[in-house]
Symmetry: C2
Subunit: 545 residues, 2 copies
């Protein structure tokens, strides 16, 4: 990595190269703009529990209104001994507040449960034995993967037993002709991706938490992430699942076939079910070839109108090689700069930025397509400035900027986090409307306002906005100004109140803003049929009242 | 189109050009090999009922063992009058054997039911009113789209009312930024594709029956088709559905969002459910940009080993522009030639053929990638010969060869048709094993054998084989040699007994070869929950015993 000062100036030089290209419209090769100056922050999913333990409030204290369901039995020593007979001494954590903390608390320290027992099975049969017993005994269970969720779905609310899948982390098989991977649910996404890299393949999804999250958790939450635009949703790429139902039944649907029209596609129901109707233990997934050529460019733009123009044209000109189209506003960049130095990417600052990634099989072809596209964007006045990463390090640096917003925001005293989707043209209207609404409500805009900034970034290609309201403190007035106002806004524009983060305990009561009463009623019927005793992940996902 | 003689000779010239390119390995542009000589056959889905009516046997006579479920009421005049009040005089066909024939019989004339009533609703509300009444009155119903299925799923077995969706054929909307189309279920696939073409988009699926099949039927049967390799399955591209449940409840899940993680993804369950748990009335689907450049090449190869090599290399070299990779054997070509003239594509005949299609945004780039790939295939001795279509007409001609096998086989006295999937390396082993098995069984190989040929073609990229056993007549001995032998073979190789055609009445009793008892039991629970009176598409899909 270059030193800050020199790399910043070279970056500016790089930006000028691009402008020059655009002005003359000659077909030169992309030139280097080396050493992107931003220090790649450690990913957001590193935790230091010890110092936080005492101050993290319990979910039930922070969000009053929860009542423990008394149909669930309270754990006793006999139960623990039974579980010990299944998973052994090393497969459980019991009654040890310090060790349990990491499993009771989400990584943002926003949700905290009171479980006394964590189980770490190593086989599908163990998961089955555990669930059969829990179902018979009416013991409530929270399935847990990498615990990187944002809606409190993977930690207990009361004393539910935590069923953590980290012990199930074997790769089961790989077919190098078809690119179909089978693996245990507890495999870490990045581990799988690195393993596939050696074989010329890659995982069809990527997200900031990849170093910690499990593929089983990804599927249970229908994770979207950064490259859905190119490789599609998990509903298309997941070919088979092994799932243990609440009564211990093992559902073996580990198909490794791209086409199989023999009956209801039951596995689909578990994708995005957040551990409420079954525990995913095994996964069969279609993996794409790893692209030989990857390019990443960053553009500075003056309006969200231009962001949309750039997106629409990228779908035509970059078409089959386009693998990501991300945007953020200047508020997001400033938030990043507040918590990470050094600060410069381009000479000037712009109201909007887009990060464009291409992935293809021929570097020369991709460079030519990207250059032509970038030239057109500059010539047409859509983009004001731009840089293109010249090597793997610079590519990672640009991505770490995009992936660093979550961590930067995590350093603010308080953040109201939203993850919504809607038709692309509405995305920034939503942000501006929220700023105005908070100003009019008297909580934003003045020096001592509780809200300090409204920050926006997201996946343009998916109509997916991550809206973050940073504040000096959480307060009731602000919270009541945001909700349900925002959900109503989204609902009025045919949007989703949770694009990819899911429902958990954070959004379940608001489901009615995105789904009709008929839909919710049918969901409840499915839940009741598959989990008649309601032992799996209670208090979450579906509205409780 | 060129005359037969001249175009055949030019084709050979074209083939030689390609060979010359390979031999010298110089980087020349692809040269024209104009005028592919094959006459494009009319698509297989044209019917002439009048002449066949008397000879088409009823399903219940042809496949004994069916018993009418007496819990279903028999239609009476009051019922008909009620339906007339909903759909009007023009919305029903009643008690007219000639007019009813086309709705009672599948296009292969293999399955024939005895319905006395066809209803053609024009709105979702009408579908709801009809189903509510049928559910209350215990009248059995068969949902029907374009009636192009191959497993008897869309025609009645006994006297079920036919609910035909052809009257619901409005396009509801299109978002030109995101490419999301919403439409009635009764829209014809090709009509939608042509409509999208004017906007620069295309449907994400394509199949031989496109001129007749409905998008609703495509989704109800989870149609795969020719470009699944590139654009993925309907589980990924369908974003929303409007479905009427058996009790008349309208389930409005017409999301137009690429990301929406709010609750169980209920729509998924209806994709591939073959009309057994709900009637799809509306569709929201993600459509890709229509490629500016499309190339189609045909290769002749000596072994299925070489077919696999060509496929594996195409995924690396053609990668993001590869949109189809189809294969057939010489038996398929000879079957085509038997029923369609003229006959030549290449100078010589080869044991195997592959059709490769690329779709991209830059013609020069695609030509270069394809030329390099084809050169490599020839130089490495993987392919023996090849031609490249030079214009839209030639592209259509090559495709019409691939799409013409179904019709050619339809002209044989009898055909046993199978649609199976398995790991790619096993595909042709299955074909050869079946030939040997039939010879050993004494029904194939001699001059007067009932079986005249075993013909194979399919989608290599999807591991999907269409296995067709042509015969002089249907006979019990042959049938018993094929089934369950073939299903056992497929099951032993972790394959599917129905890759894309579905179950219907043709395969439902064999479901156990592809799904475990646990899976089938759970499927039956879903069916029971959503259709407690079993009025929707009875006698089909799930095993009846």
């Amino acid at each position: 990595m270059q030193s800050i000062a020199s790399s910043a100036s070279r970056l500016r030089a790089g930006a000028r190269v691009l402008r020059a290209v655009a002005a003359t419209s000659t077909n030169v090769q992309l030139r280097a703009s080396p050493g992107l100056a931003l220090r790649a922050p450690a990913l957001a999913f590193t935790r230091s529990y010890a110092s936080d333990q005492k101050v993290v409030a319990y979910t039930v204290d922070k969000f009053p209104g929860y009542t423990r369901d008394d149909s669930f039995k309270k754990l006793n020593e006999n139960d623990v001994e039974y579980f010990r007979s299944i998973v052994g001494d090393n497969g459980l954590i019991y009654n040890n507040e310090d060790d349990l903390f990491a499993y009771n608390t989400d990584w943002m320290n926003k949700f905290r449960g009171k479980s006394q027992l964590v189980l770490k099975p190593k086989t599908t049969q163990q998961v089955s034995d555990i669930l059969r017993y829990c179902n018979d005994q009416r013991l409530a269970v929270v399935p847990q993967g990498g615990n990187t969720g944002l809606v409190g779905g993977s930690v207990p609310v009361f004393d539910e037993i935590v069923l953590n899948l980290q012990g199930m982390n074997r790769i089961r098989g790989f077919d190098s002709v078809s690119g179909i991977l089978t693996a245990d649910a507890g495999c870490v996404l990045e581990v799988l991706d690195n393993w596939l890299a050696e074989k010329g393949y890659m995982m069809p999804l990527d997200l900031g938490a990849k170093g910690s999250c499990h593929i089983g958790g990804n599927i249970a939450t229908n994770a979207g992430g950064l490259r859905l635009l190119r490789y599609g949703s998990l509903h298309g790429t997941v070919l088979g699942l092994e799932v243990v139902l609440p009564d211990g039944t093992i559902l073996d649907n580990m198909s490794t076939l791209r086409k199989d029209n023999t009956g209801y596609d039951l596995k689909q129901l578990f994708i995005g079910s957040e551990g409420t109707i079954g525990v995913i233990t095994g996964v069969s997934i279609l993996t794409p070839h790893r692209s030989k050529a990857v390019n990443v460019a960053l553009l500075g733009l003056n309006s969200f109108e231009d962001v949309q123009k750039a997106f629409k044209q990228s779908r035509i000109e970059l078409s089959e090689i386009l693998s990501a189209f991300e945007f953020w506003d200047i508020n997001a960049l400033q938030m990043f700069k507040k918590h990470a130095t050094p600060k410069a990417v381009m000479e000037n600052e712009y109201p909007f930025y887009v990060l464009i990634e291409t992935s293809g099989s021929n570097k020369d072809h991709d460079d030519e397509k990207l250059t032509t596209y970038l030239e057109n964007m500059m010539t047409d006045g859509v983009a004001e400035d731009g840089v293109v990463a010249q090597d793997e390090t610079q590519i990672r640096s640009l991505w770490s900027l995009r992936e660093g917003f979550t961590e930067a925001l995590g350093k603010e005293p308080a953040v109201y986090k939203y993850d919504i989707s809607m038709p692309v043209p509405k995305i920034y209207e939503c942000v501006e409307d929220m700023r105005q609404h908070l100003k009019e409500g008297g909580v934003f805009g003045a020096e001592d306002s509780p809200v300090t900034d409204v920050v926006a970034y997201g996946h343009v290609g998916d109509g997916n906005l991550h809206l973050n309201i940073a504040a000096q403190r959480l307060d009731k007035k602000t919270a009541e100004l945001i909700e349900p106002y925002l959900f109503e806004w989204v609902s009025n524009h045919q949007g989703s109140i949770s694009a990819e983060h899911g429902l958990g305990v954070a959004k379940n009561e608001f489901l009615g803003y995105s789904k009709s009463p008929v839909m919710i009623q049918l969901m409840k019927k499915f839940k009741k049929m598959l989990d008649p005793n309601g032992i799996l992940n209670p208090y979450k996902y579906l509205p409780t009242h």
